[in-house]
């Protein structure tokens, strides 16, 4: 499996790739294409386009698409467009709410945080989606991921309340949509520690 950033509808090309090199190369093509397309778009954003920009841009995109930092594969990023549309509003809303809650807590003369560490068993399959979720947790109301373990995430909660697990469950479902993944059957609610 190769690591790449891909925005493609869910045609699972990797399933076609068994062992043969050519097949794997062909299977990697749409991924490489997607990578090149995304990087070319970013190049356009950086430079604003124009002929002289693309003289540099074509080699730049090629080099950027082919160089890897040598950190192995993080797994496939296969994003679904519909999932993105479902994910974005939820993310924006939660990010706003998270910032508001922190702001109120910081500004309020008497209210103090009441933090607690909880474990949240992840239902997402291992891979980039889990890391994405762990990072996302830092941006939504009252949660901060501290450790990603095999079983789940250890989370520092700013103010202990029942709404945290509900938010996390909703968020996890939206992340699964975004990555076009199926969640594992429910592993029960987050256990207090």
């Amino acid at each position: 499996m190769r690591q790449f950033i891909a925005f493609e509808p869910c045609i699972d090309m990797t399933r076609l790739a068994d062992n043969t090199g050519i097949r794997r190369f062909i299977a990697g093509l749409p991924a490489l294409g997607a990578r090149v397309a995304v990087l070319a778009a970013i190049w356009w954003v950086l430079t604003g386009g124009g002929a002289s920009a693309w003289v540099w841009g074509v080699p730049a995109v090629m080099v950027a698409a082919s160089l890897r930092p040598g950190l192995g594969s993080g797994g496939v990023w296969r994003l679904s467009l519909m999932g993105l549309l479902r994910f974005l509003p939820v993310f924006v809303w939660y990010n706003l709410r998270g910032a508001m809650e922190v702001a109120v807590l910081a500004m309020h003369p008497r209210r103090r945080p009441d933090p607690v560490l909880i474990g949240y068993p992840l239902r997402l399959p291992p891979g980039p989606a889990r890391v994405f979720m762990a990072n996302l947790i830092n941006l939504v109301p009252g949660t901060l991921s501290t450790r990603l373990t095999v079983r789940g995430i250890e989370i520092h909660v700013l103010t202990a309340s029942a709404s945290v697990t509900r938010i996390l469950t909703i968020l996890e479902r939206r992340v699964a949509d975004l990555f076009a993944l199926q969640l594992a059957p429910s592993a029960g609610l987050g256990s207090q520690r």
Binding site: L39, A60, G70, G74, L148
Partner: protein
């Protein structure tokens, strides 16, 4: 975009160019916080506090260069100050013995420093007075007059890689000497710490790395007609490489020998080839014919950007890459 460039500290109050009170307050506050941070950076007794102060000082220095309408230097300061300088200091701190790491330094300010302080202040005042009497434009007009033959649209790049390219050549040579000196001292220190980081870190670096490469190219391209060029681009490339090393990447086995040395020397090599080649083709040492200046500068710029990036990374590594610990994945 909208408003014309606002008057700044570079032309203090000549006629209509008076600064708005908000600007004056901003500059004063900026200056104040820079002095505080510089003081902390030098005199803080907790080493870590000193390093963080220095990093923050670097960030504010970039803002100060922006206020002085020198975006070129701001860009260089941003790419070095926010990237490699801080990383070098933080890594050095980690190499100190644990008891010294967060430890208190002996108190430096004594009463005997007072004469030195007075002398310093007096010297600064004299320098300031002398600076104010200097003719204001400097060499700016001479540079602008020569721009049509420069081969690039950015005056700063023209000076660095055309009019005074000789200086830049020597600078790159000095950097290379520093790397050679460092390699002769010992082997790299990163290889001894193969512990794997949290999965979030490699994920971040895998995501950012292509962007580092892309923006390196962007700054090289930008250098042709605006703030940018080989130095900030090289610094950015180095930051990307260092980030990859910090996330657990190893210098690949097949890159350790000749390819690494070629990358380190590419800048100097390109410079010398162009300089000597021109002597053979045109008859003068290192004087670009105007019609080819643009492409020659581009070649040198790419080679120099690559070299600077790899040299800075080598300086961060702190020695020649070893192949003792398990190789690249």
């Amino acid at each position: 975009m909208r408003a014309p460039p606002s008057p700044t500290a570079s032309d203090p109050g000549n006629g209509d160019g008076l600064m708005h009170p908000v600007e004056i307050t901003f500059d004063a506050l900026l200056l104040f916080s820079m002095v505080v941070l510089a003081w902390q950076g030098v005199h803080a007794r907790n080493m870590f506090r000193a390093v963080v102060s220095f990093i923050m000082f670097g960030l504010l220095t970039a803002v100060a260069w922006v206020r002085l309408e020198a975006p070129d230097i701001a860009l260089a300061e941003a790419s070095l100050g926010a990237g490699l300088t801080g990383a070098l200091l933080l890594a050095t701190l980690g190499r100190l013995a644990p008891e010294r790491r967060g430890a208190r330094r002996p108190k430096v300010v004594k009463l005997s420093t007072l004469p030195w302080l007075t002398m310093g202040l007096a010297g600064t005042t004299v320098l300031l007075a002398v600076t104010l009497t200097l003719p204001a434009p400097g060499l700016g007009e001479a540079v602008l007059a020569a721009m049509p033959a420069a081969g690039v649209d950015s005056p700063v790049t023209a000076v660095l890689l055309n009019f005074r390219a000789w200086d830049t050549l020597l600078e790159i040579g000095v950097m290379l000497l520093a790397v050679i000196a460092l390699w002769s001292l010992g082997q790299d220190v990163l290889a001894s710490k193969p512990r794997l980081p949290a999965p979030a870190l490699p994920a971040l670096v895998r995501l950012l790395f292509p962007l580092f490469v892309l923006s390196t190219f962007y700054l090289l391209w930008r250098g042709g007609h605006g703030p940018g060029g080989a130095f900030p681009a090289g610094a950015l490339l180095a930051a990307g490489l260092v980030l990859a090393l910090l996330a657990g990447a190893q210098v690949p086995e097949r890159m350790r020998g000749a390819p690494l040395r070629w990358a380190l020397g590419a800048g100097l090599f390109a410079f010398l080839v162009v300089a000597v080649g021109l002597m053979w083709a045109v008859g003068t040492f290192f004087a670009y014919p105007p019609q080819h200046a643009s492409i020659l500068i581009a070649i040198i710029e790419i080679a120099a950007g690559l070299s600077i990036g790899v040299m800075l990374t080598a300086l961060f590594l702190g020695g020649e890459p070893t192949d003792i610990k398990g190789g690249g994945k």
